[in-house]
Amino acid sequence: MTGPGLIPAPVAQLPWKIILLVFAIGAFGLVVLYSAASGSIDPWAKRQAITFFAFLTMAIIMSRFPESLWEKSAFPVYGGLVLLLILVELLGAVRGGAQRWLDLGVIRLQPSELMKPAIVLAMARFYALLPAGETRRFTAIWPAALLVGVPAGLVMLQPDLGTALMITFGGITIMFLAGIPLRLFIGGGLAVAIAIPIAFNTLLHDYQRKRVLIFLDPESDPLGAGYHISQSKIAIGSGGIFGKGFLHGTQSHLDYLPEGHTDFVFATMAEEWGLIGGCLLILAFFLVIRWGVNVGVRAQSRFSRLAAAGLATTIFFYVAINLAMVMGLAPVVGIPLPLVSYGGSAQLTIMLCLGMLMSIDRANRRASRW
């Protein structure tokens, strides 16, 4: 991608492979949304296209920023988002009822969504600051646990189990990559296994508990709360290897599949494109994520290493949780499929991740050229 001549250097230096891959996923998403609206660019495909290109442009611009910017802004952004989370909680308490966003007039800001990459940056920053010798000490753990616990707890109060889990997973991933002793993860895993039944009965709201129960046995209530999972599995299962063909999905077009353009967009896609379409999409995501992790591996600074691998893993969690959900392997937790599901918030988060990854990638390549 460093061909001389006609193309100006800044453009030629862009990581075109990954931009094309992201563009391909996004374009395929637009095709699916076009079908989900029964072959119409309204109401979803057109608006999604606009936000997609806007955010992609934003990501490309971000790639020109120095990686040190992210390191410096990690804590301030994290702190600001925690304050916003508290604000959201207070507003919710005043107005009554659950609240997840702040209406800023122009846009609806969802701080919990932005917290997903922010926690990764903050954790990476923390471990970058931590002297290497402290890594296996307790000082390596309790501040990190606090960094993760505060936003995760606040999001849990909203209540938004999916996002809280993603924030926690993001934090733990960084801890793992930072070199925290393995036995802590093994012990932690055991502790969680014990804590889950307790948390299930005390921390979770009724509707969340119901979701988990229905996830375990969706057919028990096929017309009620298990309807989503049942219909989603029917859509994916009836698609077969080659799918029913573009615009020929019945589950989505006849409205049997709920949320077929947002959280369950993968089912809409799988019904029409079959196993082939599903595997290609999974492969594309895998390539993007692998690229992200490799950016981390190649990175020069400890912050960049941890941040890049962490951001890539954030994207991974989006994809994995969403796919597990629509295929009936995880409860319905409201995590959209990145770049494909209709909606701006998640797209913004993903593009922020990609933008920062590209920025770190750019720094890597400049370093290797030296």
């Binding site: 990559l177 070199g179 599995k233 019945t250 591996v297 290493r305 941890l306």
Partner: protein
Amino acid sequence: MNKPFKIVTEAAQPFTFSRRATVLGIGQGAVGLVLAGRMAWLSVAENQHYKLLSESNRVNMTLVPPRRGWIVDRHGAPIADNRTDFRVDIIPDRLEDKQHTLSLLTSVLALTADDLQRINTDLDRAAGFQPVQVEENLDWEHFAAVSVRIPEMPGVAPTRGFARNYPLGAAVAHLTGYVGSASAEQYEKEKDPLLVTPGFKLGKDGLEKALEDRLRGKPGAKRIEVTARGKLVRELATRPDTPGDTVRLTIDAGLQEYAARRLGTNSGSVVVLDVLTGDMLAMVSMPAYDPNSFSRGIGRMEWKMLSQDDHVPLMNKVLQGLYPPGSTVKPMHGLALLQNGIDPDQTVYCGGVMQVGRGRFHCWKRGGHGNINMHRAIPQSCDIYFFQMARQLGYDKFAPTAREMGLGAQYDLPFLSQYYGTVPDSQWKKKKYGKDWTVADSINASIGQGYLLVNPMQLAVMAARLSSGREIVPRILLDEPHRPAASLNLNPEHIKVIRRAMWAVVNGGGTGGAARMNIDGVDLAGKTGTAQVRRITMADRRAGRTGNASFPFHLRDHALFVGFAPADNPRYACSVVIEHGGHLIRNLDAPETASDVLSYMFDRERAIKRLHEAEATWGGDIATRMEAKRKAFMEAQNAPVPPPPKDVDDARSDVVERAASTDRSAATNAAATGSPEGGE
């Protein structure tokens, strides 16, 4: 990273990171493979299962009511068939402007406020694509009028379906019954969606009800694609219906109709049996409702008129009417005497009255018959002869013969509601009333009064068995070839005596002279009967109130006739029961009716000519008279009529039960004490 050195150095950190990043990458790859594997499992291994579920989501079946099986007579002529029915439904989902559409339909089809209210209720309850009935049984003009306005009224669907048709109308009402929409209870029980499909009807009475399983058939289906909210997307392939079986009856449709018409304005019944096979050639109960009109739905006026009629048109008198048989049992009782060793030439003196204890028993003939033997006692219907014999032998000696001749028996006929009557004896009375049998009981029973109660079907069976000496069992389904019935092993001499006596009733100066057929080579043999429904008190006697004309309809005597023809070589047997006939009008009396009905089998032209002559005196044929009656009834109504009961089935059996129980109690009242006026 449990390496020997405890202190992690900055130099070691990148190595730790790349190792762990590799582990992370492998973990992510593994998750990716699990997800791809899960997807393959769903879409390949479970593909058939989910395809099926997806199809059953998408495709919704609308049932098409099956064409009901025909009911045909023994020659194949239709008794109940299906005619094209023009109907108009609304598909709620396609309806655009409900108010406009309904007002347009109201003006085109002249819908009433009642109709509109029902349609509105149905529309509110209907699922999106399930049709709601606007009107059925439309004539072509109205149907066409709706059809041409279809572009103005989206959602209105004129369709051609099938409706039940009974070509003989009221003449077969109690034979076939009628059809109607399923009740909520029936749907609860069967849970078959067909039952609530518009246009589907099931048997509500008679053969239609009893043979429902054979007549119903299997519904066809219209497959339509619908959305999750029930919105119709498009129609897919249609599966045709399987019509119900055709059921062939032993009935002769011509004879059935003739008998129904010949009953005229009477409340009565006619049964004609083939004396060799037991095939039921006619089974008529009149007056009757029009099954065509009942099958369309029962209007409030119609219901009120029919349920209040003292001629009980809602009752199948052949199987549900119980009557004292009166003198029609005398030939059978004669047979009982012969079987008990009584010499038919033995005489009894009839002085017109007989004293038993404190009771006085009269013969129908004031002055008495003088010395009389069995050969004369049956044709002359002498009561004293049978009184004397019953006093001498006791009725316990008669009862076995009565049962042998088919009285008191239950016949396995496809009619769900039947009454069987009683053949009384001392044991029966002891069990039922805890009282001993008296001589008066025997005397009453000997002339077919008292506790003896029969239905007209049993009377016909009695006539058939007496005439042929065979164990005739009535049958109505011509499913398999009928074999001649088994012999009763009666003494041929006895049969000869009884047959000759019954011949003499009609042709030998007996009481049934009016029934003479006047057809060369075919003589009718039979027996007349009168069944009292009231006691004639001494006060009545003193006031001269013994004639039926001086009593209101419901107190008049029943007129009965049993018979068979030809007398010398019996082929057909019949029973005729005229409720409260009182022998008042000659061409409406039982003997003449029986004679004409049986003559139809031998000289059709003559029978029809006699019918036309008689019908002229009654005010036309059945349909004409029913229409006139309906008009008169409507005009007489000034108060608003309440709607028919919700469950017409139940209410109808109530009406029948009430009529049947008044009959029975009247009969027992008349006989409870001594002093019956013996019937001729």
